[in-house]
Structure formats: C-alpha cells, structure tokens
C-alpha cells in the first residue's frame, strides 16, 4: 500500500490497534518482493499486520483479498525480520480491514 488513502488507512489502523493495547514497532517494513504494513507487540506476541482498505464489501472478500501470494510474501518478509530476534519469539499474523474509516481486527487471520 503506498497511495495516500493507503497511508491514511494505515495510520487509522495503527491508532485502533493502539487502543487495543498493541505497541506499534514499525510501519511499512520494506523488503525484497513486498512490504509489511505494521509490526506490533501484543503482550508477548509479535504481530505482523496487513491493512486492507475495502469499500462496502463483505467479510469473506475482505479477508480473501489477502490472497495466498500476498500471504506468502508477508510470511517470507516476516521470516527475514525474525532472524534478528530470539528464536522463541511468538508470532501472529493479523489483518485489519478498513471500511470508511472503521477498523475491524481479524486476529490470527492466517498463519
């Protein structure tokens, strides 16, 4: 996500996650072949968050929009990131869907 709307959406998503007690560590981690929108701490778990902007769509499609290719990219990038962390770090992948500025968190949307 690199458009203006995407950036604003990421800020909204980050703000919402902070109200849930997430600590945002990094925004837009860029790597070869992709980008991770947000990396955050939720308690003792490291969470990689994909932010999805949606317009009037349904749950199914909102999550389906993070397709297997995208998931693979995020996973690969997360693995690169994890090399710099202790091996026992707990990890989770969340998706935040945003529709008209309304953030909905899908905890553990994929693994």
């Amino acid at each position: 996500m690199s458009s203006g709307a995407g950036r604003a959406g990421e800020a909204d998503a980050a703000a919402y996650l902070e109200t849930l007690g997430y600590r945002i560590l990094k925004r837009n981690l860029r790597g070869p072949g992709g980008e991770i929108d947000l990396i955050a701490h939720d308690g003792d778990t490291l969470v990689f968050v994909e932010v999805k902007l949606r317009r009037g769509t349904r749950f199914g499609s909102a999550l389906a929009a993070v397709d297997s290719r995208k998931r693979a990219r995020i996973r690969a990038l997360a693995e690169d990131f994890l090399q710099f962390l202790p091996p026992a770090t707990k990890v989770r992948f969340d998706v935040v869907t945003l529709r008209q500025g309304r953030a909905i968190l899908h905890r553990g949307a994929f693994s």
Binding site: T19, G56, T57, R58, F59, G60, S61, A62, T97, R99, Q100, G101, R102, I104, L105, H106, R107
Partner: protein, 240 residues
Amino acid sequence: MSEAPRLSLKAYKRKLAFAREHRRLIRLHRYERAAFERGFILIGGVDEVGRGPLAGPVVAACVVTDRPLMLKGLDDSKKVRPEQRIELAEQIKASALLWAIGQASVAEIERINIYHASILAMERALAALLQLPHYLLTDAVRIRSFGGEQLPVIKGDAKCATVAAASIVAKVHRDALLVELDRDYPQYGFAEHKGYATPQHQEALSKHGPCEHHRRHFLRVQNALSLFEFEAARAAMVEA
C-alpha cells in the same frame, strides 16, 4: 398392580416449573431451530448493549452454537437480575461453541454516531470469532459486511436464545468495564448506573463536568454540561 408413586406437592410443583421452563426454552429456540432444519449448522446470535448511556463504550457480543442452549433463566439481558446475569454469562461461555466480544469507543461513537458504532462493535465481535456462523440472528439490524445468511428479528433479544445469550454476555462485559472506569472516576458513580442517565449521574455531570468517557454530543450530557458551565461562570463572577 402397584400404585403409582405419589409425589409430594412440593416435588410436583417443582416438576411443573421445570417442565414450564423447558417449554419456554424450546420456544426461545424457534428461530434457531428453523435455521437448523434448513441445514445450517453453526447458528450465531449477535447483540449490542450500551446504546443509551451517557458514558462508556458500546459493547457487542456474538454467541455461536450448534445445539440448543438449554440454560435455566436464559432471557433478554434486561429481564435477568444482575447476579443471575453474571452466572448465566459464565454458563453461556462454557456451553456455546464460540463467543466473542467487540466494542466501539466513545471517540468512535462521536465520529460515526451511535447506530453505526453499535454495528461496528457487532462487526468486531464477528471478526473476533475463530469461525463465522453459517446463519446469523440479530436484534432488528442488518450487518452488511456479514457474508452469510442473516435474519434481523424485531425484539430478537427476547425471542431468540442466541441473541439473548449474546445480550447477556455483552451486558456483563460492559458492566464490568464500567466498574473499572469507576475506579478512575469515582465521582460519577459508574459502578452503580453503568453510565445510564440516572438523576445521580446527571447531578454528578452538572457538578464535575464530563470526563473522557462521556459521549459529549449526547444531548443530556450537553444539558448537564451547560449547567456545569453556567455554574462555573457564576462561581467565577462571584469570585471576581
């Protein structure tokens, strides 16, 4: 032939009461049963509490089950006594297949209005489930982002067991939240009225003004606030 065993009057009455409650619970599952008979396996009920209060978030819960919730006393959260509500909430969480809570904050209520915030809270409750239900019952609202089949039932919290269960889980969760807020802001009495507009709450509002958890655009908060501002202005004039 031996005589039929005689029941004492007390035991007989207990048996009657049990049968009555059983029939009531069966009736309370009429929408769930209709969905089940059409082949849906996971039946969900979603409901929200805290649309009316002057303070605190709006909280929603979703309860998903694949079998009847035959819990004694299960009913609309407004009709169940607080102590029994807490006990029922535990029983619901234990016997439902899945349950989840969602909330929308006061800031969100102010930004997108209370109706949309209550739907957002319900959408969050659904998103927090490990698996979406195949069929969803709601209390007279349509959740557009839900992809499966849904049925808005007018007075659903009194007519559908799963919606009633969701209303109880949400209510107990929200009440506990407001007891917590009461610790930070003891002057309003959140622990007693849970943010609703009781005389005690209105009076505290006009005396202390609103705190960060008050829905500032709610008319009655406004009224209490103008009284508060009036009092402050008067005090300033008296001092001057």
